[in-house]
């Protein structure tokens, strides 16, 4: 059989084995899904399968075409196996979208017309035509992820390993990925997808496993159904804390935000949703003055953001960034968590409490870079919570989190809410939005197109389709 054969794959950091004697086969034309909780070793497995040395002891073999991936040079491996990494940003080479897609094709020494054809195909499939000449750094997280998927798939490897490829994708992006996966299958390629949630991709999976305790267990491809609790009603006075009036914002490529009006009150959780590139992150970056309005005004706690520096606003607003990798700046988990509260002159207790809330109390001496993606996101949240903010802004906090951590996150958000705090969340995860939000605000091409209670938007098919949102797991049964 000309496929991928994994035999006795064992991988350990120090004395703890992360992967314990794994053996499985993946044939060409087969799509295998692997899920598991945060820290179960999905990324380690992905790296092993793609032959990336991750600083751990690896035993066993991964055989493709008679070569052992674990012992080969990268140039031999990449022709056969390529990977879409969880921290996909580091895979980007080109400075513009077009550059990045073309770079690999040029290295393959393909004829000019062939490159042209593949480039056009990739831009069309992932709806990136509009962004063709954009600098990668100007793109939103989801669009970057699309570029990486496009640039990798287009190289035509025999096997594609996808590590959490949907973490930042909007619903149309997930659907595009699904059709790409079936197309790969029809081209007799093998696909291994490792992800926290495989929602939207279940139909194309041939086999499905759960990685637990370093071993694979066959399972059925249904998503873990969350509890779908309804958000409790609060009987308290709500005061306006965020007032965005007629906000327009322009980067070099034209207006990203157009005529945005938004009011958020205390004790309120507002979720901002919308497709990739609709301006979600740009909007929330106005809430702590990281961006200043081109036109219009933003008021936080009654003060105009134009009159304050971001550092001054840190007293009121804490911000959790979308890509924790780029925003972590300290050498230990403790330093990272305490950075904000020390700047604001708050006692260290805040940081301690925040860390234990996020389940990182045992990790304080570790390097933040040694944490897995879910851990890094939790650390960013802890670091924000430690500043005891009145307003907490969370940009894609569900990235890399498992069901258990999401539950903790939900409870934290709801506790803050009943404590009179304001929470603004940006997410693509409709199920998460349904469970935590008082209100959902939908952005589309820089304009607010809907602002209502979650059920009014996320349970209505016409809105989901019109706004390109992810449909929630179960409809209307609560």
């Amino acid at each position: 059989m000309r496929g991928m054969r994994v035999r006795g794959l064992t991988c350990s950091y120090g004395s703890d084995p992360v992967l314990d004697n794994l053996s499985f086969r993946v044939s060409r034309g087969e799509i295998v899904g692997i899920t598991g909780h945060s820290g179960c070793g999905k990324t380690t497995l992905a790296h092993c399968l793609a032959g990336i040395k991750a600083g751990c002891d690896v035993k066993g073999e991964v055989i493709v075409d008679g070569i052992n991936v674990l012992e080969e040079k990268p140039s031999v491996i990449t022709k056969r196996i390529n990977i879409i990494m969880q921290n996909f940003e580091i895979q980007i080479f080109g400075l513009t979208v077009e550059d990045d897609i073309v770079f690999g094709l040029e290295n393959l020494d393909l004829p000019h017309d062939d490159i042209e054809k593949r480039l056009e195909w990739a831009l069309k499939t992932f709806k990136l035509e509009k962004y063709r000449h954009y600098r990668i750094s100007e793109l939103s997280g989801g669009l970057k992820q699309k570029v990486v998927i496009a640039s990798t798939v287009i190289l035509d490897p025999e096997f594609v390993i996808m590590d959490d490829p949907t973490s930042n994708l909007d619903w149309p992006g997930v659907c595009a990925l699904k059709s790409i996966m079936s197309w790969l299958k029809s081209q007799n390629k093998g696909v291994i997808i490792l992800a926290r949630r495989i929602k939207g991709l279940e139909e194309v999976l041939d086999r499905f496993y759960v990685l637990e305790g370093g071993r694979l267990k066959a399972a059925k491809a249904d998503c873990a159904v969350s509890s779908l609790k309804k958000i409790p009603k609060l009987k308290c006075e709500r005061k306006p804390v965020v007032g965005v009036r007629d906000l327009w914002f322009k980067y070099s490529q034209g207006y990203i935000l157009k005529n945005v009006h938004l009011r958020v009150n205390s004790s309120e959780v507002v979720t901002i949703m919308g497709p990739n590139g609709s301006g979600k992150t740009t909007l929330v970056k106005h809430l702590n003055g990281l961006l200043k309005p081109t036109k219009g005004s933003v008021e936080i706690m009654g003060q105009n953001v134009n009159t304050m520096s971001t550092a001054e606003m840190a007293k009121y607003v804490a911000f959790v960034f979308q890509d924790p990798d780029r925003h972590i700046t300290n050498n230990t988990v403790w330093e990272e968590a305490a950075f904000g509260c020390r700047n604001l002159g708050l006692p260290d207790d805040h940081a301690k409490r925040a860390l234990s809330m996020m389940g990182l109390a045992d990790a304080i001496k570790m390097s933040p870079y040694a944490l897995n993606m879910g851990g890094k996101t939790r650390l960013s949240i802890a670091s924000a919570l430690a500043t005891d903010p009145k307003i907490l802004v969370l940009d894609e906090p569900t990235t890399g989190q498992d069901a258990k951590t999401l539950e903790v996150l939900k409870n934290t958000i709801l506790n803050l809410r009943s404590g009179g705090k304001t929470i603004v969340v940006v997410t693509h995860d409709s199920d998460f939005a349904l469970e935590i939000s008082d209100r959902v605000v939908v952005l589309h091409s820089g304009r607010i197109v809907a602002d209502s209670v979650p059920d009014e938007i996320l349970r209505k098919r016409k809105f989901l389709e019109a706004f390109e949102l992810e449909p929630p797991l179960r409809r209307g049964d609560r």
Binding site: L290, A311, G340, N343, L344
Partner: protein
């Protein structure tokens, strides 16, 4: 930074850069510098380019002071006496500003890809031009990293925009140290990114982006050559 609005062959851009430098260094006329200072702003329709000059203000001030006071001791000096020469200082400051402006305009108008293609088609070996392109790219990546780190730190109450100069300089270590670490990490990441895309220095590659000169480009070259010749004839050889 947006993409350039002018469609000019990158080779012409490289030539224009060198031509401008020759003219700037040979000119002794203030009007020439005023042209060089205003032309990029007009061409790119970007007023903020003038604001970028502000970052270089300390260097410009130092140049002004040094040239004004120490010119008399300079081995190049043509004037006698040790009186401060404000006019020389002002002239040199203007020259420095023009150099910065032209360099800025060059960086604004060319992408690393164009630079590599242009340099290698002008005869530079691929390895060398790739190296130039990579370092150029690294600078741009670092400016993005700098922004991200600054965002992370200011969002957590680190004051960089207000307060006394000394306090601000002290606080900048919380931005610059992580940036240094990031810079080293990025080199590793870049190697991985290139490996995953089959990059092989010895291997054959397609050159997808081909350069083609238009009549407009040739026109610019003619203008450039005449401008440089005029400048040399007028200022250096003093024949016209």
């Amino acid at each position: 930074m947006g993409r350039p609005r002018l469609v000019v062959d990158p080779r012409v851009k490289v030539l224009a850069f060198f031509a401008s430098m020759i003219i700037i260094f040979s000119a002794t006329d203030i009007t020439v510098y005023i042209v060089f200072l205003s032309l990029p702003v007009l061409l790119f329709r970007r007023i903020e380019m003038l604001r970028k000059l502000k970052i270089m203000l300390p260097a410009i001030v130092v140049a002004f002071v040094l040239w004004s006071t120490l010119y008399g001791w300079s081995i190049f000096h043509k004037f006698s006496g040790t009186e401060p020469e404000i006019s020389i200082g002002g002239f040199m400051a203007l020259r420095l500003m023009s150099i910065i402006m032209v360099s800025l305009a060059f960086v604004y108008s060319i992408t690393p890809r164009e630079l590599v293609t242009a340099l290698s088609s002008l005869g530079m070996p691929y390895k060398t031009s790739l190296l130039v392109g990579l370092s150029f790219r690294h600078t741009l990546t670092m400016s993005d990293e700098y922004k991200a780190i600054k965002e992370a730190q200011t969002s957590r109450g680190l004051e960089l925009d207000r307060g006394s100069l000394l306090a601000r300089i002290k606080n900048y270590k919380f931005v610059l140290l992580p940036l240094l670490v990031r810079s080293i990490e990025n080199a590793e990441k870049l190697a991985l990114a290139m490996q995953l895309r089959f990059f092989d220095l010895e291997g054959k590659r397609t050159r997808f982006f081909k350069l083609k000169m238009t009549i407009f480009d040739y026109l610019i070259i003619v203008v450039l050559i005449s401008a440089v010749s005029l400048a040399i004839l007028h200022y250096v050889l003093r024949v016209i």
